[in-house]
Subunit: 356 residues, 2 copies
DNA sequence: TTGTACGCGTTATCAC
DNA sequence: GTGATAACGCGTACAA
């Protein structure tokens, strides 16, 4: 930044293929072929071109290329939000895989609003992205805004939060297995009256986690109790409020809670402490997402980890497959990743067991 | 997603201005003018064009437009990372302001590596972005990769972490004031032996916070003690380790710690607890960034809030100003936002004071 | 006020 | 293996 000259020093526009061609005394076609590694070109000419390009620091104009081919090297991503650990980590996976394949990534947030989600998709289409990766907003219930994407032949991959109906390509976590692992763990610790803080069941992730919870109970021959399942949007406050309700149940309080999200389980923990109950002694807790704050609370929170980076990478791989065979008939592809339970203090039996 | 037909239904390429022109029996020029609200066009014709455009759901090809004008409606953003609260919030502010002005946003992460930062800038230039907003990687010490940006006449705005030398347009927090507020608060609480966990002083934000710390001490006539300032990369582990060092000081342990980041202060808190010391009774703590986990720890952590959204919005405003006057001579513009201290349990005097 | 014609930088198609 | 040429969709001098 040493120079203090004018901001725009009459911007000498970057050199084009035509410049290289003139310099070398060959045609633009030849230059283009050399740079794009086309087969019908002599190795000698190719080297000459590449050498000069490097020497003059030639930068291809992606815009022109995209215009000509009707396809850019941009990959659009729509997520509900980027706070917390999950989506940044997924995006990290996406960026990594995408950049390896020569794509740049545009990230848009829907802020859990379907209207914004629609606008984001429009924006991405305008930017002529080569593909779109989506994790749905919480209140998305109809999916017409994605029809345009398909009808333009642009690869569309969902991840984590996917449409409830229809055939789509997607990468998901085995949320059911996650719910099953979490609940089974609590059962193995001797808990029998296990409550569940569930998210909106319209979202696949939440209905699946609940199903895993129910399956685990069934395995132990425990009949499900509707009074022990509380639905909410899974914020910290929601979790605290749900815990209050559970503690007021006439049938007696639960001895464990499995929440489909870490924020909710954090709220539950705080409420339990506020009421003078001990965790895990009185009530054991398990959350979902393995947020970084699960290692900060006292006790630390047991939680289900979601393989975030892998999810992002898998989504990009799927996109690349679709992009490679644009005219192929549609075959639904679903990648399912397996979750992993991280066991911490909030769910472990007191001393007798001697674990961890 | 009901349709199960082929992914690419022979993609009928979106209609162009030429299509509209043909349909209306006018020239492309007229269509172009109508759509871009040019002055020399009859109100009647204009309406006809706009109406048909809406009816046929015409979508302008931004790529072509960008190619023609040498400028897209994309705004590039380079940040060190997107974990935590700060950068997502700033990005949120950026997206909001940018979309209001008709720009889309590309976010790239440098992962604190100058090499990646360089690549990101290249990528953005290739994407022909209209402007670039940057928050520097921790180890960026030379800034030539930004010279290209300027020489192409592309507006460049730094935010939060800005180059140490040279003239740049930037939005920053008054980090010095933040450090001053934090330290003054501790002094007002009666603490006199205050340590400081500092970040790499090469980064403006850290040197400024340290300066604020020193200024506050000076105000109280307390000479700075080099043994009480520990430099690190401010991770949780760094904070814990620094706390260990401080507790082992032969001159006696500090009665308060101000860290230039919340992760470090969290590490300090954990170390203090591990050693059986009480917070704030034995050692009071203040952090920086007001991360969401500051409200989770016990006690909750006092911290300096950074006006994240405002920073993003201000950066976009600066960009828009620069873009509006591309040929204007360079005048350094710096926006400085004022921080706000959030006081919580980790820094408050025990009962006698009776606050909060 | 409207239309004509050209160029932005690249790639696809054809001819040689 | 190489080259000329025509698009891709839009903006804009210039002419009418």
């Amino acid at each position: 930044m040493g120079s203090r000259k004018k901001q725009a020093s009459s911007s000498p526009r970057p050199l084009s293929m035509a410049d290289l061609a003139r310099e070398l005394g060959v045609s633009m076609t030849t230059v283009s072929r050399a740079l794009s590694d086309h087969h019908s070109i002599g190795p000698a000419t190719k080297q000459r071109v590449l050498k000069l390009a490097k020497k003059l620091n030639y930068q291809p104009n992606h815009l022109a290329s995209a215009l000509r081919r009707g396809q850019s090297r941009l990959l659009g991503v729509v997520v509900p939000y980027i706070e917390g650990k999950f989506f940044p980590a997924v995006i990290q996976g996406i960026e990594h895989a995408a950049s390896k394949a020569g794509f740049s990534v545009i990230v848009c947030q829907s802020h859990e609003e379907v209207q914004l989600e629609r606008r984001n998709v429009e924006t991405l289409l305008h930017a002529q992205v080569a593909g779109i990766l989506v994790s749905l907003a919480r209140n998305t219930q109809e999916y017409q805004h994605f029809d345009k994407v398909r009808s333009r032949g642009i690869p569309l991959v969902f991840f984590d939060r996917i449409p409830g109906a229809g055939q789509v390509d997607a990468v998901v976590l085995n949320d059911q297995a996650g719910g099953f692992q979490a609940t089974s763990h609590l059962l193995a610790q001797g808990r029998r009256r296990i409550a569940h803080l569930a998210g909106p069941p319209r979202l696949n992730i939440y209905s699946q986690r609940r199903q895993g919870y129910l399956d685990a109970l069934a395995t132990y021959g425990i009949p499900p109790d509707d009074d022990l399942i509380i639905y909410s949007d899974m914020t910290v406050d929601d979790g605290a409020q749900a815990m209050r309700q559970l503690l007021a149940r006439p049938a007696g309080r639960p001895d464990a809670v499995f929440a489909a999200g870490d924020s909710a389980i954090l709220g539950a923990l705080q409420e339990l402490k506020a009421q003078g109950l001990r965790v895990p002694d009185d009530v054991a807790l398990v959350g979902f997402s393995n947020e970084s704050f699960t290692a900060i609370t006292e006790p630390q929170l047991t939680s289900v980890d979601q393989r975030c980076e892998e999810m992002g990478q898998a989504a990009v791989r799927l996109f690349l497959e679709l992009a490679a065979a644009p005219e192929a008939p549609f075959v639904q592809r679903q990648v399912v990743l397996e979750p992993k339970l991280f066991i911490r203090g909030s769910s472990l039996l007191p001393a007798p067991v001697g674990v961890g």
